[in-house]
């Protein structure tokens, strides 16, 4: 048992992923690798603001990719140009909180 605990502590200390709570996990912790940027190095968006299609047309090219969402009468587009820099948008429509991810 002690050997196992020592082994675990060695594994924890050699992980690039320090500072995370790994007591519970469903995948081998060894398989979690550092991707380069630190935590929040790519900043997710919260409380996103929206503009009209007419305004957006000045910024976007016709072949630009967007993620499109329709929900309860609301229609929103999330340009990949923006998502490339933020990866995640924490948004909501009415009572439905959702996450747009890229």
């Amino acid at each position: 048992m002690r050997t196992v605990l020592i082994l675990i502590s060695i594994l924890m200390f050699t992980q690039p992923a320090l500072g995370w709570e790994f007591t519970k996990h469903s995948i081998p912790i060894d398989d979690i690798l550092s991707g380069g940027p630190p935590k929040d190095g790519i900043p997710a968006l919260f409380d996103p603001q929206f503009i009209s299609a007419k305004e957006a047309a000045k910024m976007l090219q016709s072949r630009d990719r967007v993620i499109g969402v329709t929900m309860g009468g609301s229609v929103r587009a999330y340009p990949i140009r923006i998502l490339n820099y933020h990866e995640l948008v924490n948004d909501r429509i009415g009572n439905t909180p959702f996450l747009v991810s890229w």
Binding site: I51, V69, R76, A77, F98
Partner: protein
């Protein structure tokens, strides 16, 4: 796109900077659990094994989306961050750079087929990838997976993929690179139409 309400609680998500099976892990601020987008579940922390619900969305082009939804709202370029959104941050990776970055990560050279987009479906322990380029040509694949007859449909007008069972039930799917799906589900086969 995922629901942010998990076990009755509203979560907010950030980018952990960590990778698992060639895919970025997200984390939630409320419990600091790490979540895999491909597994659609938390993989570490208090939320471990909790599923994420996938919500329908389309990956399409601005002209197609605008034509269909002239009244659409668009995420503002004023995000609160100073970024040059006219510039593609991955431009320098796209050639050999991006390929070699991924090859390093996987530990071998990636073939052309592996870099193709597929529709990944997992049902009852069985997993398969449906090639997006061929689906775009034919519009529909019929298959049997995990003991169910399923249909993979592609709508040219909206660029939307819908997977349904023969009982009419909608089935979750993800559009990802074939090698990413294969890393996560090594037993997955590529569907041959």
């Amino acid at each position: 796109m995922y629901a942010r309400t998990v076990k009755g609680e509203e979560l907010t998500f950030g980018v952990s900077g960590l990778l698992y099976k060639a895919n970025v892990l997200m984390y939630d601020h409320q419990t600091e659990s790490l979540w895999s987008q491909v597994k659609r579940a938390a993989v570490t922390g208090p939320m471990t094994r909790t599923k994420l619900k996938v919500l329908p969305s389309s990956l399409t082009t601005w002209d197609k989306w605008l034509k269909r939804h002239p009244d659409t709202q668009v995420l503002s370029f004023k995000t609160g961050y100073t970024r040059d959104y006219t510039r593609d941050p991955y431009a320098s990776y796209r050639g050999s750079g991006w390929g070699s970055f991924l090859s390093n990560f996987i530990g071998r050279r990636l073939g052309r087929e592996e870099m193709k987009f597929i529709v990944g479906v997992q049902l009852d322990g069985s997993s398969r990838g449906y090639p997006l380029d061929k689906l775009r040509e034919t519009g529909r694949f019929a298959d049997r997976l995990g003991g169910k007859n399923i249909q993979v449909d592609y709508d040219k007008e909206t660029d939307r993929v819908i997977v349904t069972s023969s009982e009419g039930e909608q089935i979750e799917h993800l559009v990802v690179y074939w090698f990413v799906w294969k890393e996560m589900y090594p037993d997955a086969e590529l569907f041959e139409p």
